[in-house]
């Protein structure tokens, strides 16, 4: 079995990504390709549900950093939800908690986009 699986779906115009397993230099391309697929479809509102993410190394953090400006330029954002303690610690160590909005649950992350109204690309 692969060290990382990434499922995705869309809800209320928000792309939801579910990385499951270990996100590091070995697995990051799969994660990047899922983000890129959303961008190719001009979907700029993305929630990464980290409930299944056991581990994230700098390669995974770099994948988020590499696209965030493009996404925000289009009025969207990447928001994170349901981080376990290990993953949250890494975000805090690097100060990513100041760059990305982090929510306790996926629902709250989705609702945060709704509260901002329309924008951020086609809403499906």
């Amino acid at each position: 079995m692969s060290e990382l699986q990434v499922e995705s779906r869309e809800l209320e115009g928000v792309v939801l990504l579910y990385p499951k397993g270990f996100l590091n230099a070995h697995t990051v391309r799969l994660f990047e390709s899922e983000i890129q697929r959303a961008l190719d479809d001009q979907r700029y509102r993305i929630v990464v549900n980290c409930a299944g993410l056991t581990y994230i190394a700098s390669a995974g953090l770099g994948a988020l950093m590499g696209v965030i400006e493009e996404i925000r330029h289009h009025g969207g954002d990447i928001r994170l939800a349901d981080l376990n303690e290990t993953v949250r610690n890494i975000f805090e160590i690097l100060g990513f908690n100041h760059l990305y909005r982090i929510f306790p649950s996926e629902v709250e992350a989705i609702l945060s986009f709704r509260e901002e109204g329309e924008g951020g690309g086609p809403v499906g």
Partner: protein, 150 residues
């Protein structure tokens, strides 16, 4: 009972391919727990060593998968030391970019985060050239009250 100081080092050699980072991570975590670190701290140490090994594979070996990454783990009583050794191209620590997260966003950079993370997790991170080898040494002090700690 007092845990012995100066235990014999554990030496691990892995092929320079990213699929073996899982082995590096698992061995490092288990070793740190045996040495007395809490699991959360052991997870962080494993991440730092994963980052060092990743740097070797991606930079010193430039992605070549037929090389060896050597990891030498040493419990020195008051701290743990891991040397990550390669025979790749010389790495000049001055080449290591300093991380400024704001610049990262605007410049869409991806590199350099690993070294930054290593420095945040470990008490000491040093790079040196020894003969034809690069040696990255990572040191983390043990928590008070753990085996061998002062």
């Amino acid at each position: 009972m007092t845990a012995p100081r100066g235990r014999a080092p554990l030496i691990l050699e892995v092929p320079s391919r990213t699929e073996f980072l899982a082995v590096v991570r698992d061995v490092t975590r288990a070793w740190a727990v045996v040495a007395g670190f809490a699991r959360a701290d052991a997870d962080q140490i494993a991440l730092a060593v994963d980052e060092a090994a990743t740097n070797v594979i991606e930079h010193a070996y430039a992605g070549a998968g037929d090389k060896i990454v050597e990891l030498r783990y040493e419990d020195r009583g008051e701290d743990l030391r891991v040397d990550v050794v390669d025979h790749g191209r010389a790495v000049d620590p001055r080449e290591m970019p300093r991380v400024d997260l704001d610049r990262y966003v605007t410049e869409r950079r991806k590199g350099g985060l690993g070294v930054h993370l290593m420095g945040k997790i470990m008490d000491s991170v040093t790079f040196r050239r020894s003969g034809r080898r690069n040696v990255c040494s990572l040191v983390r002090r043990k928590p008070e009250g753990s085996p061998g700690a002062p």
